[in-house]
Amino acid sequence: MTPTVDALASRRDRYQQAAIAVHEPVFRFVRRRASAEVADDVMADMLLVLWRRLDDVTDGGELPYCLGVARRCLANQLRSGERRKRLFGRLSTNMPRDAFETQPTHGSDDYPELRQALAKLPRSEREVLTMWAWDHLEAREIAEILGITPNAAAIRLHRAKQRLGDELRRKNLLPTGQSTSGATETQ
């Protein structure tokens, strides 16, 4: 029942290595979707969950696991922000409405047409598309984070690319005569 000293040391080493490895991608993931203050809290929550659930995380699966945890913690943080807003009528100015919004925190005046086209996508498609484009996640990783099948993630991503591609071609931001790749190419 009681872990041995060696087992504890080994667990501690694994935790430290995993925490350091996921820091940058998870922080960037969260920071893309929330203020620095919220991101800081989410990272702290993620570290604690990783420690408590480390034994459930497969070797090599640390990053998608931590991204999934961070996404849920972020959703909780932002929901509580909304609740405070309802209660007190004020809120941090750069806090997105929820974890799936993708409101950039800086440089928001650049590329207005591209931003508009992205904003027109359904939220679920916008989320997978930004995960792919900004966080460089593949469909199978996105699936793990969202808790859906890899096939569903690939299809959703494919649709999102197609929809955004069509819109950007209409705006002459992409050359006409080409279409986005098939879903399988994203895996």
Partner: protein, 208 residues
């Protein structure tokens, strides 16, 4: 080719571009604190006489901690405790999952003495998860402030579609150790999956 162009376009509006440096000092400090505290946490099964711990090994004033937790939980959620018994004599207690909005970074460190003061503590298996409720089939009541029931129905906060404790989803078939105060399930590490270490902590706190 089109994928490449699309990604390049979207990267132009990336709010956190890859060439933007990030500060890791605070993160590393937190990491060290967790590992220092966690080392103590892992010794629960070894030294049940020395339960109080936190980063750096300083002891708590338990009444203050209990008061803090109770005050926070009372302040953040409205609870409902309902006992029902249907025709098949399966009794159900209703608890709610706190939509706390409280970051775990603001949680108090786990402490068996705090755990021992919880008015409701039980072990059971998640048998059903809907969009509004998680049902736990209770196999053991460590302590309760009302009658023991066969099931506990944990209501999710309005607007939440996934049931999670401390950011980790409930899973049907998994066994959990749960505490509650004022009808609200406690997070912050005081409820969670029934790992051997957590079982030991509950046994230490409530005497089995």
């Amino acid at each position: 080719m089109m994928d490449e162009q699309l990604r390049q376009l979207l990267e132009q509006i990336d709010p956190m571009p890859r060439d933007e440096l990030i500060d890791s000092l605070r993160y590393r400090t937190r990491l060290e604190n967790i590992m220092n505290t966690a080392n103590d946490t892992q010794t629960i099964g070894v030294d049940t006489q020395s339960h109080a711990f936190e980063a750096g090994g300083r002891r708590h004033r338990t009444p203050l901690i209990i008061g803090g937790i109770a005050a926070a939980l009372v302040a953040i959620a409205i609870s409902t405790v309902v006992l029902t018994r249907d025709n098949n004599s399966v009794s159900t207690r209703s608890l709610s999952l706190a939509d706390t909005g409280i970051s775990m970074s603001s949680c108090l460190p786990f402490d068996v003495n705090v755990l021992a003061a919880m008015p409701v503590a039980f072990a059971g298996t998640a048998t059903e998860i809907t969009q509004t409720t998680v049902t736990i089939n209770v196999d053991h009541w460590f302590t309760t402030d009302t009658a023991e029931t066969d099931l506990v129905a944990i209501a999710l906060p309005a607007g939440i579609t996934s049931a999670a404790l401390d950011g980790v989803d409930f899973v049907v078939g998994d066994r959990y150790l749960v505490t509650a105060t004022d009808g609200v399930v406690n997070g912050c590490g005081f409820s969670g999956p029934a790992t051997p270490e957590f079982e030991t902590a509950f046994t230490s706190a409530f005497g089995g």
